[in-house]
């Protein structure tokens, strides 16, 4: 089936540093998402991105977070500066259509550890 790739698979950084998580979505998909899963907890929505704009974000999407997809390349999640509570697995997803009309396909996740 369609595949979403995420780079890197693991990242360890010191608190206060910047980190960029990269997502390579399914090629003809137009809607992009980030989700966060803290160890032992449920997966939670962070943000939805379409046509260069954030469509919806949750309260977990702090001011230190930003997303972009410059020139149709990777869809990125940047955290600057990072905090200890940002340690989690971050999953990227993409879909061809929005408004819940289509399947979201998920990447394997990036495991972020902030020390």
């Amino acid at each position: 089936g369609p595949k979403v790739l995420q780079i890197p698979s693991h990242q360890i950084i010191d608190m206060g540093q910047m980190v960029t998580l990269n997502c390579d979505p399914v090629s003809n998909h137009l809607y992009f998402y980030w989700y966060k899963q803290i160890l032992g907890q449920q997966m939670e929505f962070l943000v939805n991105f379409y046509n260069g704009k954030v469509m919806e974000k949750s309260k977990l999407f702090k001011d230190q977070f930003s997303v972009e997809r410059p020139d149709g390349s990777y869809f990125t999640l940047k955290i600057q500066p990072t905090a200890l509570e940002d340690s989690a697995v971050y999953f990227c997803a993409s879909s061809q259509m929005g408004q819940g009309a289509d399947t979201q396909y998920f990447g394997p996740g990036t495991r972020l550890l902030v020390l």
């Binding site: 089936g1 998402y33 989700y35 449920q42 997966m43 939670e44 929505f45 939805n48 469509m55 919806e56 949750s58 697995v89 999953f91 997803a93 929005g98 408004q99 819940g100 009309a101 289509d102 399947t103 979201q104 396909y105 998920f106 990447g107 394997p108 996740g109």
Partner: protein
């Protein structure tokens, strides 16, 4: 707010038997997806439903938006079906999935 309650949290099945997982929603949802998490932690898509039922091999899923629930039925369970299953529903805004807590399924001989 939008919440998804998934049950049971854990399930043990003898090989060849079957059972059902269920997700109840606190609000009206537009669609539901069912996933299985593989050994590497990746989410494998099982079903997407905006209404009605779908079947794929030994799996069958149903979604009733009005009654606010979805089910995943597994029949003739095999050892390789073991894993963690999640439902996730698309909220009325259509912009996000809300996940259930997951069901850990163990199939034994």
């Amino acid at each position: 707010g939008d919440q998804v309650e998934q049950s049971p949290s854990a399930l043990s099945l003898h090989e060849g038997t079957g059972s059902a997982l269920r997700c109840n929603f606190t609000t009206t949802m537009r669609a539901v997806q069912w996933f299985r998490k593989n050994s590497r932690g990746s989410l494998i898509n099982l079903f997407y439903l905006a209404s009605g039922t779908k079947e794929n091999g030994r799996l069958k899923s149903a979604f009733d938006s009005k009654e606010r629930y979805s089910t995943l039925h597994i029949r003739d369970a095999q050892l390789e079906d073991s894993g963690t299953y999640f439902c996730a529903a698309t909220t009325s805004s259509g912009q996000k999935l809300v996940f259930g807590q997951g069901t850990i399924l163990k199939v034994y001989l």
